[in-house]
Structures are given as C-alpha cells and as structure tokens.
Amino acid sequence: MERPGSVETVERVGSRDDVIVWEEDGRTHLLLNMGPSHPAMHGIIRIILRLDGEQVVDADVEIGYLHRAFEKTCEFKTWNQVIPYTDRLNYVSPLINNVAYVMTVEKLLGITVPRRAQYIRVLVSEISRITDHLTCIGASAMELGAMTAFLYMMKAREWLWELVEMICGARLTTSYTRVGGLKADLPEGFHEACRERCRGVRQVLKEVHGLLTNNRIFIDRMKDVGVIDAETAISYGFTGPCLRACGVPFDLRKAQPYLVYDELDFDVPLGEHGDNLDRYLVRMEEMEQSIRIIEQCLQQIPKEAPEVMAPEMEAWALDDLGRLGQATIPPDRIRVRLANTLEGSEVFHWDHVNAPNRAVVLPPKEEVYTTIEALMDHFKLIMTGHGIMTPVGEVYFAVEGANGELGFYIVSTGQDRPYRIRVRGPCFALMSGLVEMIRGYTVADVIPIFGSINMIGGELDR
C-alpha cells in the first residue's frame, strides 16, 4: 500500500488490511482496529487506535453500526406510537426513555398527570437507573476479569427486571407510559415485592463493594485511568455520573426538579478525580440513593381510591349488555375481569394514573364498551389523522437519565404526529470525548475506560 508523505508502510502483518505498521518521526506506529466485533466493544462500535508500542497516541471512533433511523421513523408515527421506539434507545433503562418522551409531549400539550402517576414514574425511573448502573459496573468488572461481581449484579438486575415485568409485562420492551399517564396502575403485591427486592439489591451492593472497592487489582486498573478534568468534560457535554465523577454537581433531578423529585430526600454523590474509580464509586452510591428514593416513593405514594366492590363480571358479558344498551350500571361501579394484559387499567385505577383529559387519554375499556361517548373518544384518538392534536410549537425537555441528560426536542406543526423528534442521548456526548480519555493510556486501559462510559448503542446510534 502506498502512503504519501512521511508516512510509509514498512510492514504488513499477515494478509490483514486492518493492521498497518509504519514509521514516523523515528517511531514505529501501529494502526489497530478494535471492534466492531470485539467482545469489549459491546457489539457495535469500532475504535481505530494509533499505537506507539502499547500506548494510545490517537484514536478515531466510528459509530453508527446500530443506526435504525429512530428520528426518521418517528416522523411517520402518531404521538403514542413513538413510545415503543423509545424503549429501544437506552435498552438497559427503557423506562426512563418512556418517561422522558411522554413528558416532552405533555409539556408540548401543557398537561400534568395525577400525583400517583408521577410517583410511579419516579419509581420506575429509579428502578431503571439501578438496572443501568448494575449493567455498567457488572460488565466493566467482568471485562477486568471479575466474573463474580458480574454474576452477582446480573442476579440483582434480574430481580429488578422481574419487578418491571410485574408492572408492564415486559422486561425490556416496556412501553409503560402513555401521553397523559400510564398504561396501567401498579399491580397487586408490588409494594411488598419491591421492598423485598430493594433489600436484596442492597445486599448485593454490599457484596460487590466487598469484592471490588478495596480490591488491589481492581483499584490498580481503575485509579488514575481515564482521567478527564471538569472543564474538558463540560466542553464535551458530559452529563450524569461521568460529569459528577469530575466533581461537577449537576443532576437534573436537583437542578430542575421534575415529577415529584423535589419532595424526595436524596443525595447526589460527587467524585473528585474524574477517573474510572470515581465513576465506579459515583455509580455505586447512586444506586444506594435510588433505593432510598424508591423506598420513599413506596411510603409517600398516594393510595388509590377504595375499590368498588361490585360483583365481578366477565368482559364478554359486559360487552353483550353494552350492545343491547342494557349496561345500566355506572361504568365506575363495574368490576370487569379484563384480559391479563390490561391488568391495572381497570376503570377504578384509570383516573389515578391518567390525566382527566379526554382529548389525550384513551377512555377506560369498561366505558368504551358501554357508552357511546367513550366509544367516540376512543375512535377519535385511534384513527389516523385524528389522534392527539398538539399545538404548533417546539419544546425541549430533559430528564436525568441513567447516563446523564436525556433530552427530547420535539417540533410540532399541529398534527397528530411529530414533525421532528430529536433525542439528546447522553452517550453521544460521552463517546465524542472517549478519544480524549484514552489518549496516553495503554490498549488494556481502553477497555475499562470505555466500560466506565457505559455506552449504549441504541441511544448512541438511534
């Protein structure tokens, strides 16, 4: 291969195109391709390293392997149809994406959701934050050889995902929120299960602290590696744990409180050095704080209204009565056994988790099948070209995602679908700073630095 200028290929290793060695300024440089199919690249990015011996002189990060045209696709979907796509942004904390998206649309519409729904949104966000941090720390510990910590953390994450499954029937493809509320209320027995699992996660965190935090090998790999100072981090748009590890106290839950975060008592842990170890410690402490928030939510969450103890009825029987015009019981007194996918969205739950806005929120199923008004509302909201009509305008709204500021920018032209949706995922900014963080360290350090950033491909490439 011919190389112009001072760069000259002196040797080609084997028949591979992607390992190139040349001499420059008396030093031998090696171009090394890391990824996209590298076990520590989490599947989907490619880092092209320019090495001097084992030291990284420079690097180029190539992304886009998981680009699925999220923003383009959403321009063709109605407001509520976008929600399943948001699950796939940050797929280790999908509920935060759901919450962030619907809150942006609600900001555009100018509606607020009932307090119970707000508490539930905080609750699920914090559960997701823990699963996200568990994944991040577990995976990067595993990449350093600490398999036990990884397995312990996956076990804890499994408990939390079982909770998520209780709430919305899915572990990853949650789609739990709706514009104006939630898909369903919390299921029966959730409080006990949640408390129990919080205890379990606390125990796991304690164990992992014992395994990693004072572990000589772990500290040697993490301490003073991947250092980034606060000013550079801000210039790169760092947010979340990576910024707080540099000592910058920026957490949107405190800075611009949304939902009920201002009524909850929690601390924002800060690092000092901006290295891998601080990022690890910040994440560990944030999980503790998230558990605190969850426990407060469980205590403070407004109780739902006492259930109306009408005799339970099969859905088909109500449907038959409705068709004959004989459903004389007021809908809020009916107790219908709905299909288990609709558990928690019965009429006596509905108003506690959904805004009383019939132009935005679907009516409960019991009403749809028994009253003409609700049937019409339902029809209008579902039909193409009707749906939720938003005002003309543009809004930006951000929540504190697990990795940092997760913002949505929505431009509406007053139709039932967005004109433009832009996701400000925290990973994109973090990844653009990766080169700065790995420069000067060795190849082996690239893995823990990259791991401590917690890049999530779905959110990075959209």
């Binding site: 195109d17 992607d18 886009g64 550079t232 210039s235 910058v248 809004v395 930006y396 920018y409 994109f428």
Partner: protein, 181 residues
C-alpha cells in the same frame, strides 16, 4: 430571572436577532447565520450568561421555506441553571460557522447534522459522515428523503476509509475546507 438573557442579547446584537419567543417556558432566539458564532461565543463567555454547556445541536428541515433549514442549538448554563435555544436559518448549500472551537462536543454533533441534513459547517476540522456509511447517497433526515429509500449496493469489502488510507487524517492540525469536501 429569565427576561435578562434575551434583553442582554438584544442590547448586544441588535441587528443579528431575527426573532425571539418563549413557548412553554423555552426561550428561543433566532439569529442571522453570519452572527451565530459570535452570539454563541458571547453567550458562553459573558459573565452574566455563562452558557457553558452545548447540550444539543440539531437541524429541522422545512422544504417549502426559504431558507430551508433551521439549525438549533440547545444551551445550558450550569452557574445560572438556565436553558436557551438558539436557532439560525440556512439554505440548502450554504454553510454555517462551526462552533467546534467553543465546545468540543460540537465536532460530532455537527458531523451528525452534516450527515443527516447535508448542512456544511465552515472551519469544521473533520466534516465527514458519522452515522451513515461513506457511500450513502443523500441525507436521510431531509423531508424529501423517503422513509424506505433504496440505496445502491456497495462492495462488501470496501476500501478502508479516511483514517486508514489518508495519513493527513492523523496530523494534529488537519484543516479541511468544507467547500471542497
């Protein structure tokens, strides 16, 4: 608390500001594209404003409008805990001044806008596609690009891209002229 930002800006850049509005509490200022770099630099550095975060940089395509694109900057001020949206309008084929010298994150964000909309950024050090592959034709987030656009096939084993074949890529101060890219 919130009025001063727009007032200060209007005092300083009277001729540069096309329009200001605040919808749902989001303050927006629309700036002429020639002055957008100066305005952003002022917003970042002025001690009364200190918008030290460039949270997001994106674009919106309005095919029927002249000029066609909005380039949208979302700023956040950590010291004052405030947000501001700065927009500028640019037509197809025109270039905006890059803000990579103000915020390092702008490098990737501007690459993405270039990739998705074909808007060029003057003085950008490395303006190439970021999410799509080099052989991709067109700019997918333009409104005239179809949802399921067909692309020509590219050879399976493509020639290694810039950083592999082009040693200039690795020079620390490589300057590429957006007009000739």
């Amino acid at each position: 608390m919130s009025r001063p930002v727009l007032t200060i800006l209007q005092e300083r850049f009277r001729g540069a500001i096309i329009e200001t509005h605040a919808f749902r509490g989001d303050e927006t200022v629309v700036v002429r594209k020639e002055q957008v770099h100066a305005v952003l630099q002022f917003l970042r550095d002025d001690p009364r404003l200190r918008f030290n975060f460039l949270m997001d940089l994106t674009a919106v395509d309005w095919p029927e409008r002249q000029p066609r694109f909005d380039v949208v900057y979302h700023l956040y001020s950590l010291p004052y805990n405030r947000r501001l949206r700065v927009k500028t309008q640019v037509d197809d084929g025109e270039a905006v001044d890059s803000v990579t010298d103000l915020w390092k994150v702008a490098n990737w964000l501007e690459r993405e806008v270039f990739d998705m909309f074909g808007i060029r950024f003057r003085n950008h050090p490395d303006l190439r596609r970021i999410l799509m592959y080099d052989e991709f034709q067109g700019h997918p987030l333009r409104k005239d690009y179809p949802l399921r656009g067909e692309q020509p096939r590219v050879p399976y084993r493509i020639q290694p891209r810039d950083p592999w074949r082009d040693p200039d890529r690795w020079k620390p101060s490589s300057e590429s002229d957006p007009e000739t890219t």
